[in-house]
């Protein structure tokens, strides 16, 4: 009887151990990161100035900050009706269809950046400052004399190519290259925070379907098999990603970015290290370290905890930006039509119009948003 009881206990405890280990293990023994994960959050990449030295808020402070953001009109606020800015702001808040999680600061944190400890991007290198100034000067020159730009006659820079491959919305639509990567459906941007992901694994391979606004989503395949990076001559929007396991953490090294890709002003010299660590059934800590000696004076690190979603109720919907991209064609066609009218003396000179600044994120909301605005 005693023997039987002992055996029973052994079996039960072994079963429990097996179960808890099995919970986050694939059947072939690798750590299991699979599922749909939500990374939407109100916490911005960089810490807003008013929360300096406050990396984590108290529950009361957090509730107050969240309520304040929630009460803003956001994208539903229109510019003066009939203005160029109003027409350009065609999407209202409903188009962005964010999850309730996006209305909350994650873990009551005030920035996703955890290093530097002040929660801010490191100082730009002199080279990057020069680069940014050149891009800004070019963009301002194209806006010169329009409702959205500084006063003055149209700039001769209008007839010059941009100083670097253009990734922004220019005040010119001579061809598709004048439009932003988003407008061209080319915004396969990494790292990509603040959104939904589906992770699927097979032995030695990880696939991630990345959701992104307005059908910009894309899919990544990451070999986790000891293979080496592609030759440096092969450049791409998503870069070349190779993974390996450090304990239960998936570490992904991304290099070989294209000079046409852009993340906060960092381009082909970007080096990204991602860490995916599942800490519980519903929480996966996603940490990125970004390094680019031609852009920042030091590497920086951000951590975003992802929350597991129901696999039954949720799906990552197909990203169909390009298939429905009437906007890019219309932008070019409209400008050609405006040029024709101007030639026939039936309309204003399109070069005096602002087709660049409207429709962006309202400056009042910038401190709570990601993207380029966060880098300013």
């Amino acid at each position: 009887m005693l023997v039987r009881l002992f055996m029973l206990l052994t079996i039960v405890s072994a079963g429990v151990q097996a179960q808890s280990a099995k919970q986050f293990r694939t059947p072939w023994g690798e750590p299991d990161l699979q599922g749909i994960w939500n990374g939407e959050t109100l916490t911005p990449l960089q810490r807003p100035a008013r929360f300096a030295n406050m990396p984590v808020l108290t529950p009361e402070e957090a509730a107050k900050a969240e309520a304040e953001v929630d009460s803003r009109p956001g994208r539903d606020k229109r510019a003066k009706e009939g203005t160029e800015k109003d027409v350009a702001g065609a999407y209202n808040q409903a188009f962005f269809d964010r999850s309730p999680r996006s209305l909350h600061l994650v873990d009551r944190r005030t920035s996703l950046i955890i290093d530097p400890p002040n929660g801010l991007l490191p100082t730009l290198t002199p080279e990057a400052q020069k680069r940014r100034a050149a891009i800004r000067e070019y963009e301002q020159a194209l806006l010169q004399g329009t409702s959205g730009g500084r006063p003055g006659p149209p700039s001769p820079l209008y007839f010059e190519p941009p100083p670097f491959y253009n990734v922004d919305r220019l005040n010119r639509a001579d061809g598709p290259e004048d439009r932003s990567l988003q407008e061209r459906c080319l915004a396969w941007e990494l790292p990509h925070l603040d959104t939904f992901y589906r992770i699927v694994q097979s032995r030695g391979q990880v696939g991630i379907v990345v959701d992104a606004f307005q059908g910009q989503g894309f899919v990544r395949t990451i070999p986790v098999d000891g293979s080496k990076h592609l030759p440096a001559s092969i450049r791409s929007y998503k870069g070349d990603a190779r993974g390996h396991w450090e304990g239960d953490t998936l570490v992904v090294d991304i290099t070989n970015f294209s000079p046409k890709s852009d993340y906060l002003g960092s381009r082909q010299n970007r080096h990204v290290v991602e860490r995916f660590k599942r800490v519980s059934q519903n929480r996966l800590e996603y940490t990125i370290t970004v390094e680019d000696p031609t852009t920042w004076t030091r590497p920086w690190t951000a951590m975003e905890p992802l929350e597991k979603q129901s696999d039954k109720e949720n799906q990552i919907y197909e990203a169909d930006c390009h298939e429905g991209n009437y906007g890019l064609m219309d932008m070019l066609a409209n400008t050609r039509a405006a040029e024709k009218l101007f030639k026939e003396e039936k309309g204003p000179n399109p070069r005096t119009m602002d087709i660049a600044t409207g429709g962006g994120v309202d400056p009042a909301d910038q401190k709570y948003s990601f993207g380029r605005a966060g880098a300013e």
């Binding site: 072939w28 061809g175 990880v206 395949t221």
Partner: protein
């Protein structure tokens, strides 16, 4: 303790039986000349912990199906009548490419080598073929749809997860997921459809629906409507090949369901991997070049070759003028039924 002994006995008997079968099989496949059988034996198929086949890997079809699902001889990609009216020559858009501009011949992949179009649809297929440059979604880097994605001349990767089979296609960075577990209905249409899978023995069966009308089946104008319903069957042949079968059903376009079947091969290069083919920007000149302030593609003025290229896009076939594929939707077909002959 008695029951434990009985279990041990059962286990021992089972082990003897299994090893007997194993020995018999081994003897069978070790016969001289039986090497092929050994390679084909189901024991060589990669399997998962639950004994189901594992389709994970980098794959590619190696046939002419993306040019034409049916058996076809060589023909110009874009042709025009030559000296003899029935012997075509290359037309201006591809004339500089010479032999490259000819479609390689191949045997078809359609069972019975016939696509059972309704009469109006047979006519439209011919129209599609004549307007290939304006209508084929592949030219615009639009999503390929299913089954076309499976036999395009690009690699694709299968990542077979625990409950989801993720397929990633090099062409256009397209992707699709086959759900092996319970999932709520897809609330919209999708170019790559919505796929729910189950196992029938070693065969993965996927039921795919929720399609748009905007994808094609090949570069020969073969098409479908948004009533398309595809049942796919993935069956391992060897470790490095599986049989892909798709039964295609569309009450708007075909008179009956029909079937395609082909092997799909594993890439055996040691570092086989997908690479990025972001064709959206590659197609910009074709789709939007005419809207530039300063046209980049002027009349051809080669060093020794002067070719007048003048292609007029026929009315109704401009990019995005209607659906970019030129296919009608169910709604349009209901409102304006095509004339049946």
């Amino acid at each position: 303790m008695r029951s434990l002994k009985r279990e041990m006995l059962v286990a021992l008997v089972t082990a003897v039986v299994i090893s007997g079968i194993w020995l018999a099989t081994t003897r069978l496949i070790q016969k001289p000349g039986s090497v092929v059988l050994a390679q084909n034996s189901s024991s060589a198929i990669p399997r998962r912990a639950d004994r189901k086949p594992d389709f994970s890997g980098i794959w590619q079809a190696n046939n002419g199906a993306n040019w034409d699902l049916l058996t076809h001889g060589p023909r110009p990609m874009v042709g025009q009548p030559g000296v003899y009216p029935d012997v075509p020559v290359l037309a201006a858009p591809v004339v500089a490419l010479g032999a490259i501009a000819w479609v390689p011949p191949d045997l078809g992949v359609v069972e019975g080598n016939e696509i059972p179009y309704q009469p109006w649809a047979a006519k439209r297929k011919q129209e599609n073929l004549a307007n290939w440059l304006d209508r084929d979604p592949e030219i615009g880097c639009f999503k390929p749809g299913v089954p076309r994605a499976m036999y395009m001349p690009y690699k694709f990767q299968i990542i077979q997860g625990t409950t989801k089979v993720l397929m990633v296609f090099e062409y256009a960075g397209a992707e699709r997921t086959i759900h092996l577990d319970q999932v709520d209905p897809y609330p919209a249409d999708a170019y790559m459809g919505h796929a729910v899978g189950h196992w029938e023995g070693d065969t993965l069966v996927a039921d795919v629906s929720n399609f748009t009308s905007d994808t094609w089946l090949d570069r020969s104008g073969d098409f479908h409507s948004d009533a398309l319903h595809v049942v796919e069957r993935y069956t391992p042949i060897t470790r490095d090949a599986f049989r892909y079968e798709a039964t295609i059903e569309d009450k708007n376009v075909f008179t009956r369901p029909w079937k395609i079947s082909m092997p799909i091969y594993r890439h055996l290069e040691p570092n086989a991997q997908l690479m990025e083919f972001q064709c959206r920007e590659m197609a910009e000149e074709t789709l939007l070049g005419h809207l530039r302030t300063n046209q980049l593609v002027k009349q051809w003025e080669g060093r020794t070759m002067r070719v007048e290229v003048s292609r007029k896009v026929p009315p109704g076939n401009g990019v995005y003028e209607r659906h970019f594929s030129g296919n009608p939707t169910s709604k349009e077909l209901a409102e304006q039924p095509p004339t049946r002959q």
